[in-house]
């Protein structure tokens, strides 16, 4: 992710802020996200105007925690969106905003001069010089490529008839661009490999059916809750897939499964089910019941959008048989569930009609090889054949 647009300030200067308050809405390549505050204090100053697009890492506002005399130059800048809207590889700087120490971009004086003369945003460049510093060649290449990543075409508002639908249309356009940016990066940078396994769902479906008999209608489970739990268990066994690729494989301690939610207006949002492995199937279902409507209403919190460590996409009833996903960078895997449907299925020399699901795994070949991916699918299948253990 390279930049975000400040859509709306939810708080005004002088307001008292508490931990967890939503201070602003920012439109990013991950969709519209709510920026949370992680400290108590008074909102001292808003540094970015509504509608302004700024690079990741830009200080958005100053918060006075009451511990120091406030003046604009000495205040410890609370970099509100920092944890939320920049991935590790992006280290950025803007000349107008304060940036925390250690985040300065390494660039040679000559390269900086050329960049400034050609209005190249150096925060978007990857340096190839010593210690990753940006050199003349990097800037020249960016100029010749026309700064592809920043040139997001502004979509024409062709649905102007529906005035009441204007915010939704704006969101949908931003969403389209966000999906486009993330998926282009994925396809450009990640060498995907694909595996597929057909899994017998009779036991899992019977388990869900039995479970639902005991539950009031509001608490009933969808099969996908069980699938999510099984994926979390399988990831626990094959931790190399619960990871990111950032200068090498970085395993993650928590299993936070991102769940693809499609929107009626087009586009997708991928909220994370935090600590999926420690949740029961019922708790996962509750989380989905909470997340999906909020995802569709663009009411997700930044933490829910930024912390997934693996992704699931599920087609659901009445859809395609198989789905081959694109990995959401910097993650290293995505599992796709097709529609659960009745199919001829052979086992122990007998042929029967059973509910089956075609499960695919797309994984990053820089991070893992087919053997790991295959082990993951085998583990997933084993859990789905023993749903009572989930």
């Amino acid at each position: 992710m390279e930049a975000g647009t400040l859509v709306e300030w939810r708080k005004q200067t002088g307001e008292l802020l508490h931990r967890g308050d939503i201070i602003a809405d920012v439109e990013t390549q991950k969709g519209l996200i709510e920026i949370e505050v992680f400290e108590e204090g008074t909102l001292e100053k808003l540094l970015v105007k509504e509608g302004e697009k700024v690079p990741v890492g830009t200080v958005l506002a100053l918060i006075n925690d009451g511990k120091a005399e406030v003046s604009e130059s000495t205040i410890p800048a609370e970099e509100v969106p920092k944890q939320e809207i920049h991935p590790i590889e992006d280290r950025v700087e803007t000349p107008h905003e304060k940036i925390e120490e250690g985040e300065r971009i390494k660039i040679s004086p000559l390269a900086r001069k050329i960049a400034e003369a050609n209005q190249v945003d150096i925060s978007l460049l990857k340096g190839t010089g010593p210690e990753g510093s940006i050199v003349k060649k990097d800037v020249e290449e960016a100029i010749s490529e026309g700064e592809k990543p920043t040139q997001e075409p502004v979509k024409k508002p062709d649905e102007t008839k529906e005035i009441s639908a204007k915010p939704a249309t704006a969101n949908a356009n931003a969403m389209r661009m966000a999906v486009a940016a993330a998926m282009s990066k994925s396809n450009r940078e990640i060498p995907h490999y694909y595996l597929e396994k057909r899994m017998d769902m009779s036991k899992a479906m019977d388990w869900v059916k039995e479970a639902n008999k005991e539950r009031p209608i509001q608490k009933r489970l969808l099969p996908v809750a069980l699938l999510i739990k099984a994926v979390a268990k399988a990831l626990d066994e094959v931790p190399d897939l619960n990871a990111t690729w950032e200068n090498g494989l970085q395993r993650k301690n928590e299993i936070n499964i991102g769940f693809v939610v499609s929107l009626r207006s087009g586009g997708i949002v991928v909220p994370a089910i935090l600590q999926t492995d420690s949740k029961t199937v019922d708790e996962i279902m509750e989380t989905i019941n909470d997340l999906i409507p909020r995802a569709r209403a663009f009411k997700l919190r930044s933490s829910e959008l930024s912390q997934s460590t693996f992704t699931i996409t599920s087609i659901g009833e009445g859809g395609a048989d198989k789905v081959f996903g694109l990995i959401y960078p910097p993650q290293v895997g995505i599992v796709g569930f097709g529609e659960i449907s009745e199919q001829p299925f052979a086992e122990d020399g007998m042929l029967g009609i059973r509910p089956v699901v075609d499960v695919t795994l797309a994984a990053d070949h820089r991070a893992t090889d087919g053997l790991i991916g295959s082990r993951f699918l085998a583990a997933l299948n084993r859990y789905l054949q023993n749903p009572e253990e989930l």
Partner: protein, 82 residues
């Protein structure tokens, strides 16, 4: 509750889930989910909301009877009268 009222409630709830559609234009035997592009999650939400609104229980084995307007309305009328 009359047949007309049940129908009205069903349309209202369907429209809440699929706001850009016009459920009253559904054909009696058309598959509701396909016609209005409703996914598994929203289908469950629809069943939850209709059961709350009409105060009827819809067990999972009866979900099949909710697939088109004709069978859904017949099913709900029977349930409401009970």
């Amino acid at each position: 509750m009359t047949e007309e009222e049940i129908k009205k409630t069903v349309f209202q709830l369907l429209q809440r889930i699929a706001p850009e559609t016009d459920p009253s234009r559904l054909m009696p035997e058309e598959n509701i989910r396909e016609a209005l592009n409703i996914d598994s999650f929203d289908a469950l939400q629809f069943i939850v909301s209709i059961s709350e609104k009409l105060n009827v229980d819809i067990p999972e084995e009866d979900y099949g009877k909710t697939s088109n307007l004709k069978s859904l309305l017949a099913y709900l009328e029977k349930k409401v009268k009970k």
